[in-house]
Symmetry: C2
Amino acid sequence: MDPSSVIKALAALAQEHRLAVYRLLVQAGPVGLPSGILADRIGVPPSSMSFHLAQLANAGLVTQRRQSRSIIYSADYDAMNGVMDFLTENCCGGISCSPISICAPQLSEQKDVA
Amino acid sequence: MDPSSVIKALAALAQEHRLAVYRLLVQAGPVGLPSGILADRIGVPPSSMSFHLAQLANAGLVTQRRQSRSIIYSADYDAMNGVMDFLTENCCGGISCSPISICAPQLSEQKDVA
DNA sequence: TTGATATTTCAATAATCATCGAATATTAAA
DNA sequence: TTTAATATTCGATGATTATTGAAATATCAA
């Protein structure tokens, strides 16, 4: 993972509404949540939510898929793990560091559970 | 860890020079590095480095201590672990997630190895 | 095709952030 | 005490980011 991708990911998360959205998506798992529901839950207008979701998507932290009229977003765990790996690279000069992983959902859950 | 602290930490890391500084400090471990060396290594003037280090310190990601004329900065691993915990809270609805930890340096290394 | 639903794009404004030279501490050595 | 070394604060400028209503796009149902 290159530095500028990591910066994009961190910047995407460093904002009140986007951080809240990302956590909702992390908790929702592979099933994801549609844009409108997210706007309601967070309490921002749809156009604002769209702006924030675009940032998260552009940063690679979330993926999107259309389902009828809704566009459903889900967290991409691999991206976050990549960020973590970058931050902890050669941690403490390589002494006694535990491997990290933000989430490893079951494979059976990863395919269109929506 | 409250949301606004997490945002501060993420925002602190979401900047080219600060991200580079943080990684240098993570790799340096408890020994840390002085402000001037960091400015040289990153290639920014001392006043800019001071600005960035203040952001990292304010976010709780680094600690500082004076050693003679130098002020030495080191990464605070606990802070980063707190951010990770917050991001992954109730991950996937609590299914099959590994515990996370960015770094667990040996206790013998944690006391003034400078 | 018409109307309703779900979301995004556009555009203008407000607010926050990064940069760095000059001036100001603080510490130590001559 | 004078000088040098190390670092921070200040202040002005330029750049980036967030917000949201209105308009546009896409989907579906009658």
